[in-house]
Amino acid sequence: MAQKTPEQINEDLLRPLSGTSGRYLIVLAFLAGIVIAALCSFFWQVYAGLGVSGLRSPVFWGFYITNFVFWIGLSHAGTLISAILRLANATWRRPVTRCAEVITVFALSIGATFPVIHLGRPWLAFWLFPYPSERGIWPNIRSPLLWDFFAINTYLISSVTFLLLPMLPDLALVRDRAAGWKKKVYSVLALGWTGTPKQWNRLERAMHIMAIAVIPVAVSVHSIVSWDFAMAPVPMWHSTIFAPYFVAGAIFSGIAALILAMACLRKFLHLEEYLLPIHFENLGKLLLVMSLLWFYFVFAERLTAWYGNDPSEMTVFWVTQTGSFSPLFWLMVLCNFVIPFPLLAIKKTRTILGTSIASVTVVIGMWLERYLIIVPSLSHKYLPYSWGTYRPTWVELTITAGTFAAMVMLYMIFSKLVPIISIWELKVGLREEAHPAPALAPSHTQPNEVGAD
């Protein structure tokens, strides 16, 4: 990274916050349109009943739960990557962490709405909350859906704070430059941050603890999401491999989303000097590892089902392998392994463009994977008499499109309000390059030779 004075860094990173170009507004309006369409179709579904969707007996879960698992999976990348990189003190993490945390927060908030969207009577969703009502009724702690409720809320709180805390210094920076009502807003947001060493010290320590805490929460959330399926005695669901399989899938799709986000930021916000090919290189390697891990899990699950030869499991196995779902299945394997593996393995193709293409296919592949876990198993359960195929309707398609549009829209709005790359971490990184810190031991353990009295 060319030697840049802190002043230049400030200039570069605050540039996106200034005016909004015409093109930006048009794209924003378009995305907002899709999101509004999704909202309208949801209210239509509440008004008319779940019949407007394509759901039926026996396939009671479809696009909505696929989206739910997909977006919760996408959100894991943010915290896991930024937390792990923070703990490992990888120097190249500095510009990447905030983009990742932002993906987490937005993906999670979108994913968390689906347990309400897919309900038959969404206006009673508050019954999940364990509030003491005079009827003496409490929700059922044994239900995986309630574990979801606790897990997702815990994860939402922790990932939102994991994003906001490192943003305080940058908000302070923006506060000082803003004027008028913007100044008031940012000063409120910055919580009066002044940058005294005490504050820095506490912030660093807090981030350190949060990084440690968020990783197990993230892993627990997605294993609980997988237990939604693993707890039900449905062929190809009721297996022990689901928790790690889903967590691996989550990280896999998360990294892909991160690469995509960074590629777009780099192109549209002209952050070429900050989001360097080295970042894409490293993330590409990470994506490669996860692709292999994902393939390993799929192979393991299929092997045990095939070898065990249980009739109902085999029905679902053959339906996805060669039956009516086989095109989707082979498309998924293509997107998740056949395309990304060579692209990422060969150094020459692991460029920004290469990793971006791989990530696009991985995102699509992972959405298909969630679909192929849910629908084939439900449509071919134990009694062949009541098998049934599932076709989504326009309501479900609009809402799914609405979620992707919402994600991009929120991301664009966020990058207009807050510097997408954390400036103070960049400066620290800059200074460390100038003269690297002494030993690897973290500094605060050194005795304070100065002023210790």
Binding site: G51, R56, W61, G120, P122, W127
Partner: protein
């Protein structure tokens, strides 16, 4: 010990006439959903007569199997419901509390027998068909899961009647609509906790099997398998 209601279905006698299906519709206010909803797999039949063909022409055998909620003792649909809409009653039934159901439909996915049906639209009876609705059974609204309840309204009515007459419920006094309408007497209903009851006697028969018993759901419905005829050609 509280009653443990159970049922025996003799597949040797069942002729697949589907009188039970229509009797259940009449007793439990199950709405018809019309052709295009039925085409989309939303028809509701709390009891259905499954038909399996075996063999190729000309030696073809047909098997009928009436399937309804098995009121399992270890029901996979009960622990997964977040609002206790599906739970196990004291009398061994799988209770479906319509007002607690928020429509997550997890129970229907967990049920290996596919005997749970969801009100995708608000049930509709063109007037005056609604005059036929049975006042003892609640009419479910949109967004609620429903399933066979072993005609719990008939069980309740007989128990209240027995209590009023200060006597125990006699074996065979309670007959769900399907058991009552079954001409070949293929279905028998009674209290499994009472060893002398006819349903307990039949449940102990050597022909008795449980549908998908290997899943550990401990269903309360015992199916008596068909006996193959092994008569002699000459006396």
């Amino acid at each position: 010990m509280a009653h443990q209601w159970g049922m025996v279905i003799d597949l040797d006698r069942c002729t697949g006439c589907a009188a039970c299906v229509v009797a259940c519709h009449a007793e439990n206010n199950i709405s018809t959903v019309g052709e295009d909803q039925a085409a989309r797999g939303r028809a509701k039949h709390w009891i259905r007569v499954e038909r399996y063909y075996e063999g190729e022409f000309p030696d073809v055998r047909v098997k009928f199997m009436p399937v309804l909620c098995q009121q399992c003792d270890a029901a996979p649909c009960e622990p997964v419901c977040p609002t206790f809409a599906s739970y196990h009653t004291i009398e061994g039934l799988n209770g479906q509390v319509y007002n607690r159901c928020i429509g997550t439909r997890y129970c229907a996915n967990a049920c290996p027998y596919n005997v749970r049906f969801f009100n995708f639209y608000n049930p509709e009876w063109d007037k005056p068909l609604n005059l036929q609705l049975n006042p003892d059974v609640s009419v479910r609204s949109v967004g609620i899961m429903e399933k066979c309840t072993f005609c719990v309204q008939r069980i309740k009515a007989s128990e209240i009647q027995a209590e009023a007459e200060k006597r125990a419920v006699k074996d065979g006094e309670i007959q769900p609509a399907c058991v009552q309408s079954c001409s070949p007497h293929a279905m028998v209903f009674g209290d499994l906790s009472d060893p002398q009851s006819e349903v307990s006697r039949l449940a102990r028969s050597s022909r008795g099997t449980k549908l998908l018993g290997e899943l550990g759901t401990q269903p309360k419905v015992t199916y008596l398998q068909r006996e193959s005829w092994h008569g002699a050609e000459n006396a």
